[in-house]
Symmetry: D3
Subunit: 132 residues, 6 copies
């Protein structure tokens, strides 16, 4: 199995609801370093998993919809805790939709899975992994 | 599949028995940067894999039993090579016991696996992965 | 010249005023990985720059006053852009005050300078350096 | 499941054929930070996955055949795009051959899989994973 | 003293002349992770060292003139060993020219020095530091 | 000013004397990631600060005298706390001696200073800097 990973980042504000979150129930924020990994069993005709430049651009486009925002004010996250693991899923699902819509190129249809990791600090990160 | 990882470290002395270890048969030591990863297929009612603060505290508690010690003097490791991979298993198994005992909270019972990586330097690390 | 550095982090929300900041004028947030470096020309009687455990605790204490907060709501930052470089100075100055008040121990009076670096992402960081 | 990883690097020149590569169709180069991971379900009689010193030496030997070269001039890569993902497979397959030939020691025959990751920059990397 | 650093990278081919370079006399290549640090004693009216977005764009523009090239073919480097340290100086000097030409904005005229570090691998890097 | 840095590591056991060290008074150990930086105002005739391969070999040779040892048993450290900062000085001074003895090559006589950093974990490191 092959995979390719590209890295980018977002900077957001948010707060959490639930006693388990302690001081993170207050409005605070995070830089998330975002790693998106795309998997396929064989390389395409060009000898690659995916056009890595296009993958980086697509990741950047998806992240731009989230970055420099207070996620508490975004209607799509109403009533949802935008935890690191939840945001990993949101980004992975949006990326899957773009791949299936052909935005990563025709060859990207050979992709079988993807995985998104968000690093919230040097000592904590979360991952969501799914098939395509 | 979701996962969350927390990082901490220990500083220990030890020696190895067996010609394969070369100069590491002498008493020496290591800093191990320890990454503990907890997995589950779905998020809990708070939208998380596990209370990450509690996971970090639990990892720290488990590591405190090992850190600042000469592992050659610890009865529990008598006759055992405390290799990086062996210590990864020791830490993972202790963490699994604590999870099953409810110490990570009731919601943590949804966890299905864990993985512990010990980085012994910038050029070598070892991992032990197990189900829960 | 000797120095010792300890690392910790904070997670905050804030916004900036000024066209130069572009989308960062919106309420957003950041994880800052914070490195505090303490310098002195000679080691103390114990052969160290400073009690590194105490330095880490002091850094944590200073950061706890900032973390999990919306800095726009903190009176001390009214009318101030809490840029990465500005926050580096705020943390360095508070640390200098604590050192001069003897909170890092008597031996820490031999310190001659300190330096604080805040990493706002994997591709950008800022530093403030000052004498003691 | 246990694994051990060792890290080394190579510095090579190459170019790619195919419009998808844009400016990388020109002769350019890369430093690849190479991580080789070896897996096995149980530890050997010495309590390890593999002799880590020998694994590091073997990885270095395999990389020495590639490093400080223009891969466009190497007959073995004629007509092949030496993409990051392709090189990960080349290195993994050579390592697998050496393991099966007994060069990692008799105990290494317990290995069941390996995985090679090449980091081409701080924002992009590729992996190839295979059984043994 | 304040400073701000931005990171980017280039991928180039080159070779060196001189026995001291050993196998690096052959045509090979490198990824250089490039850190550009800008210094000033006081913050500008916006509370920053420099418009960090503009600094990142300027660094990217300067690097684009070097990246995905065989430096041996570039007339500007004829007869010069494009060592890591030499390239650090080339990038720093071009950045200094752009700052002095006002391309980093009027406020950037308060900058007093800059420093460029090129990481050629995880185990080697070089820096060039100069006043403005 | 130019500089070049090479990285290597050691794994040692030791203990500290003095209440300030808390649990580190027990026999324990550390992996130190060691960065050695060499400085000079101008490049040599080959366009470099120093033969980086030779610098890496010299660093490795110096570290081999310390690695895989219990520093408490080494006569040269009798009565000395082998703190991170103290070891940085020991390594820097030995490297300075080797440079001055011509072991880094004739051109290395143009070096004016060096700096050694020891990372004891992902959250703490120490540096010693000296002229040549």
């Amino acid at each position: 199995m092959f995979s390719v990973t590209v890295r980018d980042h977002i900077m957001i504000a948010h707060s959490f609801r639930g006693e388990v979150f302690g001081p993170a129930q207050r409005l605070h924020g995070a830089t998330y370093i975002v790693d998106a990994t795309l998997r396929r069993p064989d390389l395409d005709a060009d000898g690659i998993v995916v056009d890595i430049g296009r993958a980086a651009e697509e990741l950047h486009r998806i992240l731009a919809q989230l970055s420099y925002r207070n996620l508490d004010d975004e209607p799509e996250f109403a009533g949802v805790n935008t935890s690191t693991e939840m945001l990993a899923k949101v980004i992975a699902d949006r990326m899957a939709d773009r791949i299936q819509a052909g935005e990563f190129g025709a060859a990207a249809r050979g992709l079988v899975g993807l995985c998104v990791t968000l690093h919230e600090s040097h000592v904590a990160w979360a991952t969501y992994e799914r098939p395509l």
